[in-house]
Symmetry: none
Amino acid sequence: MNTDPQSPIPRYSQIKRMISARIQSGDWRPGDRIASEAELVRDIGVSRMTINRALRELTLEGQLIRVQGVGTFVAENKAQSALFEVKNIADEIRARGGRHQAKVILLRREAAGDPTARLLEINSGDEVYHSLLLHLENDIPVQIEDRLVVPRMAKDYLQQDFTRITPFVYLTEVAPISEAEHVIEAVLPQAEDRRLLKIAAKEPCIRLHRRTWSDGKLVSCVDLTYPGSRYRLSGRFRA
Amino acid sequence: MNTDPQSPIPRYSQIKRMISARIQSGDWRPGDRIASEAELVRDIGVSRMTINRALRELTLEGQLIRVQGVGTFVAENKAQSALFEVKNIADEIRARGGRHQAKVILLRREAAGDPTARLLEINSGDEVYHSLLLHLENDIPVQIEDRLVVPRMAKDYLQQDFTRITPFVYLTEVAPISEAEHVIEAVLPQAEDRRLLKIAAKEPCIRLHRRTWSDGKLVSCVDLTYPGSRYRLSGRFRA
DNA sequence: CTTCTATACATGTACAGACAAATGAACGGA
DNA sequence: TCCGTTCATTTGTCTGTACATGTATAGAAG
């Protein structure tokens, strides 16, 4: 275990990363019990308070579950479907027994215009990846996914087959989400969106604008447009 | 400072609440510098690690900003409507410098119909309290609040003056929120809602349904309708 | 076989002390 | 004046210890 006291990175942070890496890699699986604080103290050679802080923060971040008197366990992967968590529409549809299908309308590289550059926190003119997908549930359109991706965070984005793996799933694999920003608004869709979603001119839509970060770096910016008559966003949480 | 060692509530948590309360009440304003760790240690009489944990967690929660070598400051208010926390619209408006006003359109007891009873998890025919308010920001309508309340959770609901205290504030006082459920949809408002919000027929609105629980018991069910052109819901969180 | 109890173990919190790192202000010299 | 040094202050981290609290289990008691 590399927890060099001279390193500028605090030890508790190094321990967090080491545990997080084991979980991300699949080395430690959801439900597994990990070593106790006392064992980690012995193995790593730091004080228990340092171990405790690392484990406590990982618990706050949802990666671990701790039970007093029992031990520390790898948390189950969040079974999404909550508004307040970043979710994958394919899983949601399957969860309610539907058949998910995605059509790739557009998938290409572009040069960032000025507003796009500001949004993605890059320089104007830099290359960005752009995808436009239509998601269907039992052949009925339910979501337009219009996404911009920062190339350096997902180099092989354009080579993916998004009829098989959703952009969300691919991106979380190559750049796990550490932070997200959401904005929701109600809009009347433009002609192109109306055509894709097969809805009437006056039907209001929900537009969810989401930006996601991985390890402090912006990864992707996406607009999700839902037909108001066929879709709701919902979520439940504890205060 | 009441940090009785016998209390079941941890001291660091009590300290968090005390600081948080000072901020919420406006006693300490955004940008203010608060007492240093050393001063708090002296005033409260706990160890510095305990103070440090309280301040560190409040910083993670976004209430404080800490600068090494300088001090600890009250964070600026987020100038947006927080989607992922249950908040009070009056505070939101005041936080961005606006003037809040509420008009009570309706306030009465009713007998629960069948759908209402299911929603509130009570028996059909049971009494419910019903309020309908219009919230204005600088005299411009920004939200219709249509609320049902379970009487046994807030007995004096009908006696409140909701031009002075919002239903949200009153309810959180008598029944603190332990859990909340949200559903968001886009709708075209009915004539009555259009009249209240002073909007055109084709303007889409965001409707937020929220049910709140206190200590496992359902307290209230509310529909919040926002004019799409004037309002967005937004939020940011860490994964 | 069931139930209670003692025990070991794991996490949760709290403390006192120590050093590191960043900042800002006071001070002194060119 | 301008620049670098020194110093006090403040937060950031780490250690070692102590006790509290929750859980599971083995063994005793019934």
